[in-house]
């Protein structure tokens, strides 16, 4: 199964929820087995919650998306310009 390698960096205290480690490299499946589509940011958020998050889930995810106050950048660009979770 082919995978997509994604580098994820946390900052501003968020790294404390992920083993106090600022940078992580995750391998995502090229095709989502459930939706048969390429993974999007929503999938990545759920993947991080299920596999990397060590404590306090409610501080990272709320109502299916990142908690208010957490900014998401995709290649140094605001995710609001890239269609957010989709």
């Amino acid at each position: 199964m082919t995978t997509i390698s994604v580098k994820v960096e946390f900052s501003g205290g968020l790294e404390l929820l992920f083993s106090n480690q600022r940078a992580h490299t995750v391998e995502l499946p090229a095709i989502n087995a459930v939706t048969s589509k390429e993974p999007n940011l929503q999938y990545l958020i759920e993947f991080l919650r299920d596999n990397l998050l060590k404590e306090r889930v409610e501080l990272f995810v709320e109502n299916g998306t990142v908690r208010p106050g957490i900014l998401v950048l995709v290649n140094d660009t605001d995710w609001e310009l890239e269609g957010e979770g989709e």
Partner: protein, 526 residues
């Protein structure tokens, strides 16, 4: 796209499109050349234009407050009357403020050189080549001793501040509010009687706790602080008090080192939170002071250094108040700033401050323009009536006629009603009941917000661990030392005769300043 209200599962065009988070296109609205990197309130900016925008907003908020007097018709150079103190909490706003301040006003400026003379153009004294503030200091107040188990982050903060050369680090601790050593170091006048208050009584009766028989006499500042914190009735009161203690510690420190300006890293988001939170706790009268204020050092403090301002006034400025939390976060990320973060106070989740923060931060994500509307609307507010003086505790204006208003309020604690009797009760004959002297009260010298902080009761029960009228709660030293407090504690003994025993009964009553002057008038020189 379908224009009918069809079934989204069968008609692909029936699903409503998501509202776009930005207007027009992804191009930067400023330079119109590069692709944007960030959306701020529906406007798109590239990285370079964003940095310029933040710098301009920062200077626009700060520059008009620098000079002691407003500029005349001809624009003069910027030169502050005294030094600068930056309040640093370790949070996002403080970190960005420190970085912006250093880049703009303290980092080495290459003065343009005159090619013919080889010297700086305009001479070395040209305003362009002078630093706006001669000296800058960064002050951090460590709150860990207010909450057992909290980590001390002073050294982390010191490491951050030391990255900025030419800025002096001044560490304080929140228990300094009860420390005579600290009070002496900032020019505080000698305190003969340390006063405590009875938090079981709405009148906040004052009593002296500086005698050897009283438990409060030998307590260290940490113990006094913890007794004070644990005596407060609600979580909201605890958080509000910590903020007030921190602010007053910063102000006194600024005065002691000759600073003309105290800068705080309150962002637009934080400002909106503090405005709504303060109004919710009864601080609506000082809503303007939440944005900007000019603090006058009280007479209980000897001015140790001049700062170029009348009466040694200190301008409290929040230069980031037009810059939102998102913008601060992007600045910190793009400039590689290390944000230590602020420690979350234990048990504060249900406090008004935390609930307000959760609400405003959520609002900012979905309706970003609303947050700036809060701050803009509050800046237009002005109190209807005048002030009745300065609150002893928070050192902000207290509203006029508060005592009369409170006396007319229907919802009161029954314990606090000492003179009222229900109409169906017969009048009690009081001629044979000896009157006891009434202790002085702190209530008339507090604003509504501070009085509510000390006396409010939560429907969920009190957080106060142990409060007893026989063990008064210590007060911060600026409350004890102020001239009003000494007026409160001044007493006159009036002798009357007990009609039954013929013995003299000493009755104490409070005198105001005019009465005291009248008493000693014949001994005063003209």
């Amino acid at each position: 796209m379908s224009t009918s209200c069809g079934n989204p599962e069968t008609e692909t065009g029936a699903l409503m499109l998501r509202r776009p988070k930005f207007d027009k296109s992804k191009q930067c609205v400023r330079c119109k050349e590069k692709t944007g990197n960030i959306v701020i309130r529906h406007a798109v900016y590239c990285k370079e234009c964003f940095s310029t925008l933040i710098s301009v907003k920062f200077r626009r908020a700060l520059d008009p407050t620098v000079n002691p007097l407003p500029d005349g018709p001809r624009r003069k150079g910027l030169k502050a009357g005294g030094d600068l103190l930056i309040g640093f909490s370790g949070g996002l706003g403080s970190t960005v403020l420190l970085d912006l301040m250093y880049r703009t006003y303290f980092s080495f400026h290459d003065a343009p050189i005159d090619l013919t003379t080889g010297k700086p153009r305009g001479g070395k004294d040209h305003p362009r080549n002078l630093l706006v503030w001669s000296r800058g200091s960064v002050c951090y107040v460590e709150p860990c001793n207010a909450f057992p188990g909290m980590k001390d982050r002073t050294e982390h903060i010191r490491a951050i501040v030391e990255q900025y050369e030419d800025l002096t680090f001044i560490p304080l601790r929140i228990e300094d509010a009860f420390s005579r050593d600290w009070w002496d170091s900032v020019g505080g006048k000698h305190i003969s009687d340390n006063l405590g208050i009875d938090l079981t009584n709405e009148d906040l009766l004052l009593s002296s706790i500086s005698n050897e028989g009283n438990e409060g006499y030998s307590k260290s500042p940490v113990q006094q602080l913890q007794k004070y914190i644990f005596s407060l009735p609600t979580q909201t009161a605890i958080l509000s008090t910590v903020q007030t203690l921190t602010r007053i510690l910063l102000l006194h420190t600024a005065s002691a080192i000759g600073s003309s300006h105290l800068l705080l890293g309150t962002s637009l988001t934080s400002l909106s939170i503090s405005l709504i939170s303060s109004i919710s706790q009864g601080g609506g009268f000082v809503v303007r002071e939440e944005g900007k204020e000019e603090w006058v050092p009280p007479r209980s403090v000897t001015q140790m250094k001049t700062n170029g301002h009348e009466n040694g006034n200190i301008r409290v400025v929040r230069p980031l108040q037009d810059i939102g939390m998102k913008e601060c976060a992007m600045w910190a990320w793009w400039h590689g700033l290390n944000v230590v973060g602020r420690e979350k106070f234990p048990g504060g989740k249900q406090s008004i401050g935390q609930l307000t923060k959760d609400f405003i931060v959520g609002l900012e994500r979905d309706y970003p323009s609303t947050v700036s509307t809060i701050a803009r609307t509050c800046s237009k507010l002005a109190p209807k009536h005048g002030t009745d003086g300065i609150c002893l505790f928070c050192q902000r204006p207290a509203q006029y006629g508060l005592q009369d208003w409170r006396a007319q309020t229907a919802i009161r604690s029954f314990k606090s009603i000492t003179s009222y009797r229900p109409p169906h009760f017969p009048e009690r004959d009081t001629t044979d009941v000896p009157t006891s002297p009434s202790p002085p009260s702190l209530t008339p010298f507090l604003c509504y917000h501070c009085h509510t902080t000390l006396t409010s009761r939560s429907s969920r029960g009190t957080t106060a661990v142990s409060v007893s009228k026989d063990d008064p709660t210590p007060m911060p030293l600026w409350v004890t030392s102020s001239s009003a407090a000494s007026t409160v504690s001044s007493t006159v003994r009036v002798a009357t005769q007990d009609p039954y025993s013929g013995e003299e009964i000493w009755n104490r009553k409070k005198m105001d300043v005019e009465q005291m002057k009248a008493t000693v008038a014949e001994f005063l020189f003209e």
